[in-house]
Amino acid sequence: MPDSFHSVVLEEDKCKGCTNCMKHCATEAIRVRNGKAAIISERCIDCGQCIRVCPQHAKKARYDSLDMLGQYKYTVALPAPSFYAQFHKPDINKILTGLKKIGFNDVFEVALAAQTVSRHTRKLFLENTVPKRPVISSACPAVIKLIKIRFPDLIDNVLPIMAPVDLAAKVARSIAEEKTGLKSEEIGIFFISPCPAKITAAKVPIGYKEAIIDGTFSMAEVYRRLLPVIKDIQEPEILAKASFMGIGWAISGGEGKAAERDLFIAVDGIDNCIEILEDIENGKLKTVEFIELNACEPGCLGGCLTVENPYIARARLQSMEKNLRQRDTDTEEAAGGEFDLDWALPLEYTPIMKLDEDMEKAIAKLKRIDEITESLPGLDCGSCGAPSCRALAEDIVRGVAEEGDCVFKMREKLNSLLVQMNYLQDYLPPPFRSDDKSRRKNLPTDETAQNPGGEP
């Protein structure tokens, strides 16, 4: 799978070329070209904000088809913790039993792996082998991509350990292999994802070279398939093992709480995340031990592939807490404590802001950008297909847009043309003139034309 893979894509037929997605994109990754929104691949972090705001529903997440289950001899579903909260009065055993009824051979709760990741995090803090403070959680792939492209200085703060879903996949695979005696490639491990960022991360893993998960399904789609089945389940199998330590990861603050740090901050929403990352970069928050960042509000429950209103879902999960705590027994072995949780590959800075490899050239380009920005109206109207006047100026200097793309600039040009046309309309060659003086004025220049009311 190439690095440029993105779950977030545009359905061209539906796109009207409005500027909603472009104006809401936190990384300025969208331009409108030829009447359609175009995503700049290296800037997109798959946060899904454009999917949320598109009035035409032209932005969507790509995910695998449930038909993929047929390609494997044995399949295991990995439901994200947020999945449970999609159901009214959630009964986890019924949900997991239901998954086995709609075509999966087995289930493995991602929440269970999250408990192990939390335990590992606590251990790293105890041993004092954590990265630079404040330690930044690596659980949200959209945030990690954001750090990769915009906050190079914070790469060393990121906790370089496996995401719960990847660990869940590893454990599920080894359990399945043992249970069935099948080869690894005959077993399909499938994640039920709340968001496009996690779908992208499943295809192009963070911290690893090879994909660990075989396929990723949309939470909404699995929900629709499961709902009618669940209703008929009277006596579910007892499959639920995870405690609230793991399930709480679905809510912003859940991971931090499970890390058991006194000084932790949980931030959700992509713009809020950017703000706090700026603060950390400015040397603030050094005394904070752990920072949990979620691109979605209020945490994974707000992912754009979920069904339920995230705040209702949050209340549901919170109401489950009391019943679940008692089940926080020693399920650790089942959750893959034996696996190495450290990333195999370090995060790499992939700058998107740099204007040129050569700094002298970059300085010249910056100068040009400033000049152009100054000449633009500063309304950030988006009509040019760039999210702001400054972004247009940058695009012009990068050679992917032109000054005439600005409607106001075009209007100025038109104005100047009109004045010139007026002049030409009244112009008579000397033999036909009645009053010589009146036609002696010079042809208006661009400058005088732009200021027609002023002195000639």
């Binding site: 190079p152 200085d153 700026e278 970069e281 400015n282 040397g283 603030k284 800075y349 700058p351 802001m353 740099k354 204007l355 040129d356 490899e357 700094m359 002298e360 970059a362 300085i363 910056l366 100068k367 400033d370």
Partner: protein, 153 residues
């Protein structure tokens, strides 16, 4: 208010008016400097040192001096920052350079500033720091961050 100019050859100059009356603008100058340095392609470590030094200086002017002006000169090899204010001045510069020493108001501390790390941070993140101050007249601070220079942090 901010402005940018270009000196002869490959120098970028930035100018900021730090307005103490507008709380929402605190930190704007350093944010703008950070963006500029990233666009120019400075190494992350240089960006960090210059930005933090600028941020601390900006916040100092904001808290103590009722605002001031900041001028930055960027070349491919170094970043020079000059901060000038006409605030109360620093009576004992050596004391002010000590970690944790602070004269910030209760209000400033409540806002999360005034930990007494401003000047010490500026010193440890820069390669050169010159503080000149006259009580009752104001303070002028010159900082230099060299590409490839050393930093205590």
């Amino acid at each position: 208010m901010q402005g940018r100019g270009f000196g002869s050859g490959n120098t970028v100059t930035l100018h900021y008016d730090v307005d103490a009356g507008d709380f929402s603008s605190a930190g704007e100058a350093s944010a703008n400097l950070k963006r500029t340095l990233k666009q120019l392609g400075f190494p992350p470590e240089v960006v960090r040192r210059a930005t933090i030094a600028m941020y601390e200086g900006e916040i100092n002017m904001f808290i103590h001096a009722g605002g001031g002006v900041a001028d930055v000169e960027i070349t491919p090899d170094e970043i020079r920052i000059k901060l000038v204010d006409s605030g109360p001045g620093i009576p004992d510069i050596a004391l002010a350079m000590q970690k944790g020493y602070s004269t910030a108001s209760e209000l400033a501390r409540e806002m999360g500033f005034g930990a007494g790390m401003g000047l010490p941070n500026m010193q440890s993140y820069t390669d050169e720091l010159i503080v000149e101050s006259q009580v009752g007249k104001g303070t002028s601070i010159s900082m230099l961050v060299r590409v490839g220079g050393s930093s205590a942090q």
